[in-house]
């Protein structure tokens, strides 16, 4: 301790309170090798407060103009020493009391925690694990069904559901044909919404929503069949369920992170994540779609032509179905990739997915509509 000898034996005027009453009296404080020595002016033996068991009312910074010291073995008692000299000397003798030391003490575990969390996320991502998907597959059918209904309800946003009888029959035929071809005993339920936007999306519980705009822009029933097959692919892989679980988990985490005031931010994160599926998910849906079309003996040409047209329509960039924010946020596979996949299907015997009469009926399905139940 000799290195500090220049700090010792300076006497400071101070005030001492015993913590039993709010009274106080004047004392002299002296920094010694053993600790702070507190002496009353009558010359009683000094009270020694060792440096290791001290605390200050606020961490000692270079701006400190005084110091209020407490001692863990004498709870309630306080020593107040005015003037910056004592505070600065004490900071040298008890470095644990400085701003820097206190801050690092509290922040270090959390920095490690964050680093571990980041590492874990990278690991989960690299190992292609998806906790959200695991949870999604565990959801009972009834919950997925109700989730799906709510999503359709909120996305359709009070628009009407098209229900022209002939069109509905044609749609049911097409859906049944494709459902059978999925090679799983899943029955898909397709709803057409009276909405001009060209869009289609899969929602939880094997529900698919098409828009009037999409039916109008499709050049033939095979294109609609292709879109349906693609969305069925999402449904079979439980992508909508996974997306919802992930969004819910993330918004809960954000809420926690923002100290409970992250409501708005949580919603923004939700939006970002719901906007589009990953490229991987789109590839999976595409693979399913081409397999389903082949099984149902429907030509994959509609698949290639529809997605290529959507691609051109969005200005040559990525985009098309399901992307609301333009190409920046879209993750749909490149059209080239889709084309080559389609070509790889080769030629197989195919017949039109719907008769001309049925196709006309389907396109006119919005001739009558009703409010969503």
């Amino acid at each position: 301790m000799s290195m500090h000898s220049d700090l010792y034996h300076k006497r400071f005027e101070a005030r001492f309170s015993d913590g039993k009453t709010a009274g106080s009296h004047e004392v002299t404080a002296e920094l010694t090798a053993r600790g702070i020595a507190i002496t009353t002016e009558t010359g009683a033996a000094p009270l020694i407060w060792p440096y290791g068991a001290l605390a200050t009312s606020e961490p000692l910074s270079q701006h400190a103009i005084d110091a209020l010291v407490t001692y863990s073995h004498q709870p309630g008692a306080t020593l107040f020493v005015p003037g910056p000299r004592f505070a600065r000397s004490l900071a040298e003798l008890a470095p644990g009391l400085t701003t820097r030391a206190e801050r690092w003490r509290t922040v270090t575990p959390w920095l490690w925690g964050t680093a571990a969390l980041v590492a874990l996320s990278v690991l989960v991502w690299m190992a292609n694990l998806s906790p959200a998907r695991t949870i999604a597959t565990m959801l009972p059918d009834s919950i997925r069904e109700t989730m799906g209904r709510q999503v359709v309800r909120s996305m359709s946003n009070n628009r009407k559901v098209c229900n022209d009888p002939q069109g509905s029959t044609a749609l049911k035929d097409l859906t049944a044909k494709l459902s059978q071809a999925t090679a799983s005993d899943t029955d898909f339920n397709v709803t057409v919404i009276d909405w001009g936007l060209v869009n289609a999306f899969a929602t939880p519980g094997e529900n698919i929503v098409l828009t009037r705009g999409l039916l109008e822009s499709a050049q033939g029933p095979d294109e609609v069949a292709a879109v349906l097959a693609h969305e069925m692919g999402h449904g079979l892989e439980m992508h909508p369920e996974t997306g919802l679980v992930r969004a819910m988990g993330l918004s809960a985490a954000l809420e926690l992170m923002m100290g409970g005031s992250g409501g708005t931010l949580g919603n923004a994160g939700l939006l970002l994540l719901q906007l589009s599926y990953s490229r991987e998910a789109e590839r999976e849906a595409d693979d399913h779609a081409l397999r389903i079309l082949k099984e149902a003996s429907i030509s994959p040409k509609g698949f290639a032509s529809f997605f290529e047209r959507m691609h051109k329509k969005s200005g040559g960039h990525e985009g098309g179905l399901g992307s609301g924010l333009g190409d920046m946020l879209s993750t749909h596979p490149q059209t080239d990739e889709r084309l080559s996949k389609t070509l790889a299907q080769g030629h197989y015997p195919s017949k039109p997915s719907l008769s001309d009469a049925q196709w006309e009926a389907l396109q006119a399905i919005c001739a009558s509509s009703e409010k969503l139940q």
Binding site: A22, G113, G259, T331
Partner: protein, 449 residues
């Protein structure tokens, strides 16, 4: 000095035993107590603290916030001086964190899960869902009152001066019920219950508050606030009346000046007329709003001064010299400071983002086609965008330590403690301690400091 009490500074483990005959030297209390001067010693280095806290909050994904808050409070409390000696904040970040976790786990999360599942089961548009929503609002407003009270209690329990701690004796239920019922009455009384309500709530808090074993007391009613409130109420009416008439006059004048040209045949406004009317009415609304802010700040200042006057402790009471202009000035400049802080943070983030992009582009090569590689776009979407959003949302709290110090400083500088307090007779309170912080209040964002 007061000889009723003996001061025994030497604790049991405190080294040498006291010298038997020694009376502590010179305590400063005259009989009847001493006058206490309250002062504000503006804290130094709050901008530096803002920067450190902000960086740590980002690096710990926001969790450090609880410790950041605590360090700010330690500095703020320490700037309040009684007799030149600081108030001490003894709360810890861990307590705030645990308090938040408990509220999050026991109240917020269950509430979220219950309402979400009910909404899914019942459907969002049904009457049953509406009833659930209503019940939820009632619960939230009730919890809000509890949160205000408990936050106050936690802060008092964690405030000491000369080692003597504050506390609250009483139940948060009384406060929460008063808070909730009187709030329901606000619309039915056209706001006229507000002065009575705020006085009632303030008196509950004050009368429950203790310093050591001595109570604070609230002496006075809401009567003196009704004059200022009438000025505020009718003033607001008059201001909006004048503003609307002025806009009406301008529209009429423009219509007359342009005659038939004011509107086209299909009823569309002439763009020139629409422009003039738009700009002038915006100006009028802005001026009216500023006037209203001044008026409401004036009412607020009268409330603070009145409450100070009514707050008694032993033989002393507070005296407030807060003014409306002073409050408004602090509020507006604080707003400006927060905006400047947020802009600064956003600029820094954009600069760092650009620098990183240039570095990365240097490593992996500049993209040859103009379109962003979708793989990179995916990374941007899932990683960079949420982080950016988080930082932008936090940026408005960047300079909060600075603005909080200004608000608190203004208040303390305009409050005096008049009369005497027998300090030697005030003993430590035996009030039960709490060991977790003000979770509810934080969840509802009710705490000012």
């Amino acid at each position: 000095m007061n000889t009723d009490t003996t001061i025994e500074p030497w604790g049991p483990q405190g080294g040498e035993p006291p010298n038997g005959s020694t009376q502590p030297p010179q305590a400063t209390q005259p009989p009847g107590g001493s006058q206490l001067q309250m002062s504000w010693l503006a804290p130094i280095g709050m901008i530096g603290l803002s920067i450190t806290n902000f960086i740590f909050r980002i690096l710990t994904l926001g969790i450090y916030d609880f410790w950041a808050r605590t360090e700010v409070r330690k500095r703020l409390w320490s700037s309040v001086r009684l007799h030149g000696e600081p108030l001490v904040y003894t709360g810890t970040g861990k307590e705030l964190f645990l308090g938040f976790l408990i509220v999050f786990g026991l109240i917020l999360l269950p509430m979220l899960i219950i309402t979400t599942s009910l909404m899914i089961a019942l459907g969002p548009d049904t009457a049953a869902a509406g009833a659930v929503q209503l019940v939820l609002y009632v619960v939230i407003f009730f919890l809000f009152g509890i949160a205000v009270y408990r936050a106050q209690r936690y802060r008092l329990l964690r405030t000491t001066w000369r080692g003597i701690r504050g506390s609250m004796e009483g139940s948060s239920m009384t406060y929460a019920i008063t808070y909730f019922l009187t709030m329901l009455l606000i619309p039915f009384t056209a706001g006229w219950i507000i002065p009575w309500r705020s006085t009632k709530l303030q008196s509950i808090i004050t009368n429950d508050a203790r310093f050591g074993d001595r109570p604070f007391s609230f002496k006075g009613g809401s009567g003196p606030l009704y004059g200022p409130f009438a000025v505020l109420w009718f003033g607001a009416m008059i201001i909006s009346g004048i503003a609307f008439s002025a806009i009406g006059l301008i529209v009429t004048y423009m219509q007359q000046a342009y005659g038939a040209d004011a509107r086209s045949i299909d009823g569309q406004w002439n763009p020139e007329v629409a422009g003039v009317v738009g700009v002038t009415s915006m100006l009028i609304v802005a001026i009216a709003y500023l006037l209203y802010l001044l008026l409401s700040a004036w009412y607020r200042s009268r409330t603070i001064n009145h409450f100070a006057q009514c707050t008694h402790f032993e033989n002393a009471n507070f005296n407030g010299r807060v003014t409306g202009a002073g409050l408004l000035w602090i509020d507006l400049t604080n707003l400006l400071i927060q905006i400047v802080g947020a802009l600064f943070v956003i600029l820094c983030v954009v600069a760092i983002f650009l620098m990183l992009s240039i570095i990365f582009a240097g490593i992996i090569g500049f993209p040859t086609d103009a379109a962003l590689n979708p793989q990179h776009a995916a990374v941007f979407t899932s990683v960079a965008a949420p982080i950016f959003l988080l930082i932008v949302a936090l940026s408005f709290t960047f300079l909060l330590p600075v603005t909080q110090a200004r608000s608190m400083g203004y208040l303390i500088n305009h409050l005096d403690l008049e009369g005497t307090i027998p300090l030697d007779q005030i003993a430590q309170s035996a009030a039960a301690d709490v060991n977790v912080g003000e979770g509810l209040a934080q969840a509802f964002d009710v705490d000012a400091f």
